[in-house]
């Protein structure tokens, strides 16, 4: 557990560093601003709609779902990779079967056009 403590220290330093910088900036900079500055940065005209009123392409959602599938696959690969010597031929064959099943899915989504952006 002690080997993970430095991560906490680094996190604290990152947060403190930013907080200190923001505090210093708050003391130094000029106060107040024109209300125009608080509008979303767009074209100069008053905005009729905000970003949160809009929808975005379904493809991003699809990419996220595909990512989850493949990321879970890499989770299975990690313990196999680190114990490769001990698992030897048995582990190699097992993992090739696993990857073969995955590749079938990969070819399927490729053919269905899930990886085509436009």
């Amino acid at each position: 557990m002690t080997s993970y403590l430095p991560i906490l220290v680094f996190t604290l330093v990152a947060v403190l560093f930013l907080t200190a910088a923001l505090l210093a900036a708050r003391l130094l900079r000029h106060a107040g601003s024109a209300s125009m500055n608080l509008e979303p940065y767009e074209c100069g005209n008053e905005a009729l709609t905000f970003a949160h009123d809009h929808r975005f392409s379904i493809r991003y959602y699809l990419i996220a779902v595909l990512f989850v599938i493949f990321d879970v696959e890499t989770v299975f690969l990690f313990p196999w990779a680190v114990l490769f010597d001990q698992l030897a031929l048995f582990g190699f064959i097992e993992m090739m079967v696993f990857l073969a099943i995955l590749v079938v899915g990969y070819v399927y989504i490729w053919n269905r056009g899930a990886l085509r952006w436009v």
């Binding site: 080997s3 993970y4 403590l5 430095p6 991560i7 220290v9 680094f10 996190t11 330093v13 990152a14 947060v15 560093f17 930013l18 910088a21 923001l22 210093a24 900036a25 708050r26 130094l28 900079r29 000029h30 601003s33 209300s35 500055n37 608080l38 509008e39 979303p40 940065y41 767009e42 905000f50 970003a51 949160h52 809009h54 975005f56 991003y60 990419i63 996220a64 595909l66 990512f67 493949f70 990321d71 890499t74 690969l77 990690f78 990779a81 680190v82 114990l83 490769f84 010597d85 030897a88 031929l89 190699f92 993992m95 090739m96 990857l99 590749v103 990969y106 990886l115 952006w117 436009v118």
Partner: protein, 340 residues
């Protein structure tokens, strides 16, 4: 006082001290390097060769107006820059910066955290970076920001897959997540970039995409999205994103050097027998390698045009992922045959 604690604190101080220097130095390198490649002088007013430019920038960041848009989601908007700095800083805890050293008759590894999860920890912390981009883009309630952040999230997760699989291929012959073991492996054999050229290629391309650098800077894409996910950020909060980008570039370069370019070691040189001099030389060697990588980041920026978004997705899913998987299969088969 406990010697272990003193050593750990010393290591933290050294690494943090180095990390905090990255952004100011890179501001200068990036701007002077860009100028050199475009045949113009670049910043040359402040100090010799414009070396104090970063200092002037810091002063400007402190005095600029800090805008929080009225329509923004305030808590998320304020949290995003801090969350961007977090992975940038924490990832470098697992990097070995030099050979082991002895203090009070006890041997210590020159890594801040000697956790067994090593490189896995790096990948886990690095992938947290996507949260800050999504948070910043969503909370700004600006159309450019939102487009930039959803692009960023799709890009980062797509290239993370290829990168993870490329890293895995390095782990197989080593058999350990400890990066110190990866360096030791490369010292007894040869650099991994020669043993696994395809893995190295995939890692390099994915590294550019993971740090949102050209030719993959679509989340920012100045010519289309103003400044992408950080359009609404100004002053010190913008500086935080800026610093996070450079620091994570350095951390990722350090990981790349450790995995593929021999880490702190050089062929035919043995730093381990030299005591503290060896430690300093090892640190210097790794820093020199990271410096070269950082220059390559700038060099590539002015060499390649930006990808179109569909090209980016095609490259990630239809080229890098299959290549990375084939590389993994090839490396594991060769390890099984005893060639690696």
């Amino acid at each position: 006082m406990n010697v272990d604690v003193v050593v750990t604190v010393a290591k933290i101080a050294v690494v943090l001290g180095l990390l905090l220097q990255v952004a100011p130095i890179m501001v200068w390198v990036e701007r002077r390097g860009s100028a050199m490649m475009q045949d113009r002088p670049g910043p040359n007013r402040l100090g010799p060769f414009g070396l104090f430019q970063a200092l002037a920038d810091a002063v400007k960041f402190l005095f600029k107006e800090d805008v929080t848009p009225a329509a923004a989601d305030k808590p998320l908007y304020l949290m995003a820059p801090a969350l961007a700095l977090l992975p940038a800083f924490t990832t470098s805890v697992v990097i070995p910066w030099g050979p082991n050293f002895t203090w009070d008759g006890k041997e210590y590894a020159f890594t801040v955290s000697n956790a067994d999860t090593g490189v896995l920890l790096f990948l886990a912390l690095a992938s947290l970076g996507v949260y800050s981009l999504v948070m910043a883009g969503y909370a700004s309630n600006n159309k450019f920001s939102l487009l930039g952040s959803i692009r960023a999230s799709a890009q980062l997760i797509s290239y993370e897959l290829a990168m993870t699989v490329a890293v895995l291929a390095v782990i197989i012959p080593v058999g350990s997540f400890h990066l110190t073991d990866v360096v030791a492996y490369q010292r007894t054999n040869t650099w991994n970039c020669l043993l696994q050229p395809f893995g190295f290629l995939v890692f390099c391309i994915a590294a550019f995409a993971e740090t949102n650098r050209l030719p993959f800077d679509l989340p920012e894409a100045e010519s289309e999205l103003v400044a992408g996910f950080h359009t609404e950020y100004s002053a010190m909060r913008f500086a935080a994103f800026f610093q996070a980008e450079y620091t994570s570039m350095a951390a990722l370069s350090a990981l790349g050097c450790t995995l593929f370019l021999g880490g702190w070691s050089l062929p035919w040189l043995n730093y381990e027998g030299m005591g503290w001099l060896g430690v300093a030389l090892g640190l210097g060697t790794l820093l020199a390698k990271v410096g070269v990588c950082m220059f390559v980041f700038v060099w590539v920026r002015w060499t390649f045009p930006r990808f179109r978004y569909d090209q980016l997705m095609r490259l990630g899913w239809k080229f890098l992922l299959p290549v990375a998987l084939l590389n993994l299969i090839a490396v594991s088969a060769m390890t099984l045959a005893g060639w690696l």
